[in-house]
Symmetry: C2
Subunit: 369 residues, 2 copies
């Protein structure tokens, strides 16, 4: 057993190379050497940072910690919401056209949220070099999984054919188009040789993260719930709609967080995004969204049309572009679904405690080994 | 606009190559072709599977889904637990030796849980080819972040120097030894060229996952809380101890899940682990744990000693080895802390609702864009 001259440290050599190298230094010397200093917040970077990833505090990005705290305050699970009316509505009240909308929206969303989980968990989180960013993204990974559970819960409650619903994105081109565009983006950054110290690779990464935060979550998800909210407005499938309101609240935070991270990377690395590439991305996203809308709403339903869906996409796209300090991609687009913001924002607060069917079990049911 | 002959599909060509290739097939033909069939549960594999990762159901591993549901039932946050008595205890009741134990345990745990998050989120989850496994691991990634928040909450509540506590694992060799062993394991599988279809790489991965589940979470974490539980037993730092009881409950699930996955991989791939490598791993883990125990408990505290800590490690190690169908690494090791299982299992259920200070905010506080 070796004893150090500093009273707070004593250790034996267990073959760790690192220990061997420092055995002749005192603890005080080691702390004073720059490589052993605690992390300085100013040195942190979103990507390509050199500070120790294992030291959470001090924070350089306190807003990321606020996102984390807020997300935890928003905790919910699909079991909190009563689905029994939806079972009845689906069997006895929905028209064939409305069933077509409902099933395909679920089919699209369920595939999308697994993709969203894989994007943030596998393609994004590892590249962050400030732990406070990874911490929120860890919650985000979990929330995407929670959403997947929610769709599964809806599919099971209604009694739909799970395998067929999950598989639909592969056999219906109008759903596949959106998934394919997202897959292309994730694949552009999931390659093992990506190196963010290389400028082109970093721009690929920023474009992909911008797509997932601003378009995939910020427009497609946000807009993706509207057809169900249109049913909810007429008193149909209200359990599913309430589930989607919770999901939407999460997604709005994901979008806002992602946009903030993207803006921060652009600022820290003096990146100039190619306006043509940005413009092409918005156009492709619109084409995909239009195909999707024309498929799910090929036969109109009461109070909601493909044209309104597409117009709403353009309106929301402009809103996201503004947050990203980009030109509006669809100048003049109008808010054609005036009821949507109001419904998604207000009804939730009013009804939540009346409509929940179970107490939160969190912390109550103890399962030990 | 192209119209398909199948009534449920119509789409336009948006330049997606995949769409072009199938334009001449009917939807029915596409579904019947094997590549477009829904996923068959029997085809799923833990690693190296070829089934579509985007299709959650049908489940091949329903136990993984049960872990997911259980983990969600266990939801808690550090804000649920009153820390005010701990502030008083730390300032007025702890001896210098007990403060030394308390601070270094926190310092070890906080670094360890960030590492645990990075292991499961970056090194493990991406390699799973059945989505029901990824779903539980998404929750696990989040729980590790929740634990990091908990330590941060304790450090802030007590008023310790955050930067110094977070940095301690780098300057105190007895803490660094354990972190270094874990870093070596994570680095052995985080390399970009790892290929699990290669037998050696797969064995590296299994050894690393086995280490993290069976030793890092199953022994070191489990055992790592005991010094604080020893304080709790004497009515000291009871808020922190209650936080750690929740963390311990999560970690026990992580350990059990990881061991189940490791056993499944071994079975599906006919792997024979090298008994010498396993034995060396247990021995290294014991050396690291003994150094750590001798450091944090170099001066004895009432009711808990380094020797008891090390003996308890050996006892728990045998328990984990049995779950992993491995030989007991420390034959004859005894349960020297008989009070521990009882205290960690029982007191929680009895006291939880009495000691919580806030109602769960989950779902109650709505923050919209």
């Amino acid at each position: 057993m070796l004893n150090w001259d500093d009273p707070i440290a004593s250790f034996s050599l267990a073959g760790q190379e690192q220990n061997k190298q420092v055995v002749n230094k005192t603890l005080t010397e080691r702390i004073q050497s720059s490589s052993m200093q605690p992390v300085c917040a100013d040195d942190k970077r979103v990507v390509n940072g050199k500070t120790d990833i294992n030291q959470l505090a001090p924070f350089k990005y306190p807003w990321a910690w606020e996102f984390w705290l807020n997300a935890n305050r928003n905790h919910w699970t699909p079991l909190d919401i009563n689905m029994s009316k939806d079972v009845h509505d689906y069997q006895h009240r929905l028209t064939l056209e409305e069933k077509h909308v409902y099933e395909n929206v679920l089919s699209y969303l369920t595939t999308s949220d697994i993709l969203a989980m894989r994007n943030i968990g596998l393609a994004v989180m590892e590249k962050m070099t400030a732990p406070e960013l990874q911490i929120y993204q860890a919650r985000q990974v979990y929330e995407e999984a929670l959403h997947t559970w929610t769709y599964q819960h809806c599919i099971e409650s209604i009694g739909l054919d799970q395998g067929e619903i999950y598989n639909r994105y592969r056999v219906v081109p109008a759903i596949n188009g959106k998934i394919q565009m997202a897959n292309d983006k994730i694949n552009s950054v999931l390659r093992p040789d990506i190196d963010l110290s290389n400028k082109d690779d970093l721009e690929d990464f920023v474009m992909s993260y911008l797509f997932f935060a601003g378009i995939f979550e910020g427009c497609w998800f946000y807009n993706g719930f509207s057809p169900i909210f249109a049913l909810q407005r007429r008193g149909l499938m209200t359990g599913t709609a309430e589930q989607l309101q919770y999901i939407m609240r999460d997604e709005v935070l994901h979008c806002a967080f992602g946009i903030r991270v993207v803006n921060q990377i652009i600022q820290e690395n003096n990146i100039k995004l190619d306006p043509k590439a940005i413009s092409a991305m918005w156009q492709e996203a619109e084409v995909c969204e239009a195909e999707y809308a024309n498929y799910i709403l090929r036969d109109p339903i009461l109070g909601y049309s493909a044209d309104e869906h597409i117009a709403q996409f353009r309106f929301i796209a402009n809103r996201r572009a503004k947050s990203l300090k980009l030109e509006a991609p669809f100048p003049g687009a109008e808010n054609v679904l005036g009821w949507l913001d109001e419904q998604t924002n207000m009804r939730k607060e009013k009804n939540f405690f009346e409509t929940r069917v179970t107490e939160y079990q969190t912390g109550g049911a103890l399962n030990w080994e």
